[in-house]
């Protein structure tokens, strides 16, 4: 018998119970600390490092080099090395253009650096410096994309809150879910800010994926909460908080299994991305997804559900619930 199955049984009957709702102040404090750390450390590092897709940068063009004949990978590796030698820590994007030219895009360089990179590239590819042109490029992820994405995001959040409010018949679940979502996004973005990882369009797509996942996970937990609280009703011997807590405990095995199942593929991307390829898009996006999935599952249990209780506990109906047995309650929290 799987130990987790036994664990699930105990959680289901209430034989074993974690007091997620009762100790909510602790979870609030932890969430607040994480959010403050994410924002604070990112600010201390000087904000996010945006990729050249967002900021624009410098572009070099090596004309008609024979290095291309060695194959794309070899030809681009030369540029990688040459640029990294001049500007350490840069992550140049190299591609072959028009069959025999190499295009190198880097973050925006100073005129002195630009000259150095031109010389380095000319030497590495064995062409005269005059065959290496340099120019500035604008952002490919322009303000228009960001603006439209933000508009879409706001519309989505409004619509989603509305749908959830109608489905659950209380707007308070929407609010709790959105707060948990906000927490997830800040903490995930914080990982980038704190580690100083470059934010690329791929990373932004990763954030959006997390946004979807976080809300999804919260909805699954809330649906069990809805089931339990509506079944219990005013007649119940459990208080509202106990009902919610039991629901969270009953979905705990699901939450654990889901997060493990979701993290296994992203973690393997992260591992393979880092080991085989080093820095790169794949690693960046996998990191956002791995962290985001864990945080997303965590916040549904530790943040969204307690917040929901917090929002509703002062309603007269909810207060009435469970009063019948307030006195002869058994000693441990959510046990019947």
């Amino acid at each position: 018998m799987s130990r987790l199955t036994q664990f699930g049984n105990d959680l289901y009957t209430g034989e074993r119970s974690f007091d997620f709702v009762g100790r909510r102040r602790t979870w609030y404090v932890i969430a607040a600390v994480f959010i403050i750390l994410a924002i604070g450390l990112t600010a201390l590092r000087g904000g996010f490092v945006f990729g050249i897709e967002f900021r624009g940068g410098s572009e070099f063009r090596v004309q008609s080099t024979s290095a291309v004949e060695q194959g794309t990978a070899a030809a681009t590796a030369i540029a990688d090395d040459a640029v990294s030698a001049v500007v350490p820590g840069s992550n140049p994007r190299v591609s072959i253009v028009g069959g025999d030219s190499v295009r190198v895009q880097t973050e925006q360089l100073t005129p002195a650096q630009t000259d150095d990179v031109r010389a380095a590239l000319a030497e590495a590819y064995g062409v005269p410096v005059s065959d290496v042109s340099a120019s500035f490029i604008g952002a490919s992820w322009g303000a228009d994309i960001t603006r439209q994405a933000l508009i879409a995001l706001v519309v989505f959040l409004l619509l989603a809150s509305l749908v959830l409010a109608v489905y659950f018949r209380t707007w308070k679940m929407s609010v709790a879910a959105l707060i948990a979502l906000f927490h997830d996004l800040v903490v995930t973005a914080g990982v980038y800010g704190v580690l100083g990882l470059e934010i690329t369009p791929a990373a932004v797509i990763g954030f959006l994926t997390i946004l979807g996942y976080s809300l999804y996970d919260t909805v699954v937990v809330f649906d069990k909460v809805r089931e339990n609280t509506s079944e219990d009703g005013v007649e119940s011997r459990r208080t509202f908080a106990q009902s919610v807590n039991l629901a969270v405990n009953q979905t705990l095995v699901r939450s654990i299994n889901t997060s493990i199942v979701a993290v296994l593929p992203t973690a393997s991307i992260l591992l393979i991305g880092s080991v085989l390829l080093g820095a790169g898009t794949l690693r960046d996006i996998a990191l956002a997804l791995t962290v985001g999935t864990i945080v997303g599952t965590y916040s549904s249990i530790f943040l969204a559900a307690p917040l929901y209780v917090h929002l509703r506990q002062n309603e007269p109906e909810v207060k009435k619930q469970g009063t019948r047995t307030r006195a002869p309650r058994p000693e441990s929290g959510a046990v019947r």
């Binding site: 322009g142 909805v219 992203t266």
Partner: protein, 585 residues
């Protein structure tokens, strides 16, 4: 053997799933056979490379491009590219002057045109029309200023509305007379007439070269060079267009013709302006009654004004094909480029990320899938097989849908898209986990396996549906409102959400229904993952306890009276049918 209802339902669902898969394969096969499709999804710019088109602005000497103009042009070009499919093009500026558009694959001429042309639409009244000088040697009598009728249209056109194509403009307005409205022939100064006479319609081929300020008259030709015009100042500008769409034009009697046209809808200002113009034009005769629709300096068509158009919804006709009408409608909808551009260079560009990244992504996905499978076996024993099979079915359907849309809609898979698909393994597997946990909950409550499958499904289905609805809203909203890469993401999200619902409803659940009837699963074998003993099925509803033995015994019918009482009619029937089935075997 009498088949029970759930069993029949299950088989029906599986047949539907098979139909869907076969339909997808057939659809893909059709696009491979007839539309140059392929059996693998097309890859995006970052993985496959494509074509890099450099556009440089067409500027007269001394003119410069402002950063704002450039930014606006980039935004408009992006919308135009997006409108032609979900290809995740990359558009950037270079050296504060050029625009670089990178498109996956090899763009055709229509795509280039769509990107490049400025699509500046103007409505100007016709002042003078003539056969182009290139079509005849010398000037024919009608247009020769020296021999033309000398009846001079005075500065006030309303007094002598005798304007004809052959009107003699040389005698017309003295330079001192200033025109009173856009149809006023006083616009035609002797210098303008001279330019007009010298104008060669073939010059129009140089796109963007033919521009005039909005408050000045314009000399131009019909697109095919058949008629030469002098047009008055702009009456209604393209910016006033609120929406544009392409469609088949209806004839006067309301019958749809085969002619393609573009239907325009003006905003409030445009509607008022257009109304004022048409009301004035119907009072005029000859060419002055005509109204020229000018696109990028050339006249698309110059219809006669038969009645005042008050609703602000004119239509443009003029030798459109379906494709050119659609292109123009898109261009008008997203607005004109602030400046004209021409293609400076168009070159192949290699992938920025390359195959190694894609391979690693796929390897990671496979490893992830195996790990998920292992974990499922650990957790759910034999049910892990159902998880794995469901994931494989989802993978097949997702692959087919993506390939189909890649052929049909120009969808292209970027590395971010691949990563999105990998994480969707988690979301899809979650549906199974939610479902299995609900079944186990029901088993813990003391239900028999087949009853637990049905009851657990009812509850799990609600949860799966509402959470997928939320994801689907995200996909639709982002797809409609966002531009660029975000749309690609929305596309992937929408696909995986639909696949999740299809697979869990048409594969996982029917499989469970069928498996619940087998001895191994239905009997709750310890390795089946549905062992009531392991699940501690001792607790039964409101503080009533019962030994779990009754459930595991093969003689299910003999379970306690209490259990029977708690069954729904459907479940009781199902139980009876199952019992009969077993006896017959």
């Amino acid at each position: 053997m009498v088949r029970s209802t759930p069993e029949r339902k299950a088989i029906r669902s599986l047949v539907w799933l098979l139909v869907i898969i076969i339909a997808l394969i057939a659809a893909n096969g059709a696009s491979v056979l007839f539309n140059n499709g392929q059996w693998t999804p097309k890859l995006a710019l970052d993985l496959e490379g494509g074509t890099q088109i450099t556009l440089s602005p067409q500027l007269s000497s001394g003119e410069t491009v402002t950063p704002e103009q450039l930014e606006r042009a980039v935004a408009i070009i992006r919308q135009r590219v997006d409108a032609s499919g979900v290809s995740e093009a990359e558009i950037t500026t270079q050296g504060n002057q050029n625009i670089v558009v990178s498109i996956p694959g090899e763009p055709d001429e229509a795509t280039r045109e769509r990107i490049q042309s400025s699509a500046k639409l103007e409505f100007r009244p016709v002042l003078l029309a003539d056969l182009p000088s290139t079509s005849s040697v010398g000037e024919d009598g009608g247009t020769d200023p020296s021999t033309g009728p000398s009846a001079s249209p005075s500065a006030d056109p309303s007094v002598s509305p005798s304007a004809e194509p052959s009107v003699d403009p040389s005698a017309a307005p003295s330079p001192s007379a200033s025109p009173t409205d856009a149809s006023d022939l006083a616009w035609i100064t002797p210098e303008l007439q001279e330019q007009f006479d010298a104008f060669d319609c073939s010059e129009l081929a140089q796109v963007g070269a033919n521009v005039a300020p909005v408050d000045e008259p314009l000399i131009t030709c019909e697109q095919d060079g058949s008629i030469k015009y002098i047009l008055g100042p702009v009456e209604v500008a393209g910016e006033r267009i609120a929406d544009a769409r392409a469609g088949l034009i209806a004839s006067q009697t309301g019958v749809t013709t085969n002619e393609w046209g573009v239907f325009i809808e003006f905003d409030a200002d445009g509607t008022a302006q257009f109304r004022a113009v048409t009301e004035r034009l119907i009072t005029l005769t000859g060419v002055q009654n005509q109204f020229a629709i000018v696109l990028d300096g050339a006249v698309i068509s110059a219809p006669r004004t038969l009645s005042a158009i008050t609703d602000g919804r004119p239509q443009i006709s003029g030798n459109f094909t379906e494709e050119s009408a659609l292109t123009l409608a898109d261009q008008l909808k997203f607005g004109a480029l602030p400046i004209g551009f021409e293609i400076q260079s168009s070159e192949n560009i290699s992938a920025t990320l390359g195959v190694s990244q894609l391979q690693s992504g796929i390897i990671a996905g496979i490893i992830g899938l195996i790990l998920v499978g292992l974990y499922s076996f650990l957790q759910y024993r034999a049910l892990g097989g159902v998880v794995l099979a469901s994931l494989v079915v989802s993978a097949i359907i997702t692959y087919l849908i993506i390939t189909y849309l890649s052929n049909q809609q120009g969808f292209r898979l970027s590395l971010a898209g691949v990563a999105g698909l990998v994480i969707s393994i988690g979301v899809i597997a979650d549906s199974f986990i939610v479902y299995f946990e609900r079944i186990r909950d029901e088993l813990r409550d003391g239900r028999r396996v087949d009853g637990a499958v049905e009851a657990g499904w009812k509850r799990a289905w609600r949860t799966i549906l509402i959470s997928d609805v939320i994801n689907f809203i995200a996909a639709i909203v982002l797809f409609i409102l966002a531009v660029g890469n975000v749309r690609g993401f929305a596309f992937t999200l929408g696909i995986t959400t639909i696949v999740d619902i299809i697979v869990v409803a048409l594969f996982t659940h029917p499989m469970m229904q069928l498996l619940a009837r087998t001895q191994f699963f239905g009997g709750g074998h310890p390795l089946s993952g549905l062992d009531p003993k392991a699940l501690g099925a001792v607790y039964r509803g409101r503080a009533q306890f019962r030994a779990p033995v009754g459930v595991t015994s093969t003689k299910v019918a003999s379970s306690s009276k209490e259990a029977q009482k708690r069954q729904t009619i459907a479940e009781r029937k199902a139980a009876e049918a199952a019992g009969e089935g077993k006896d017959e075997r």
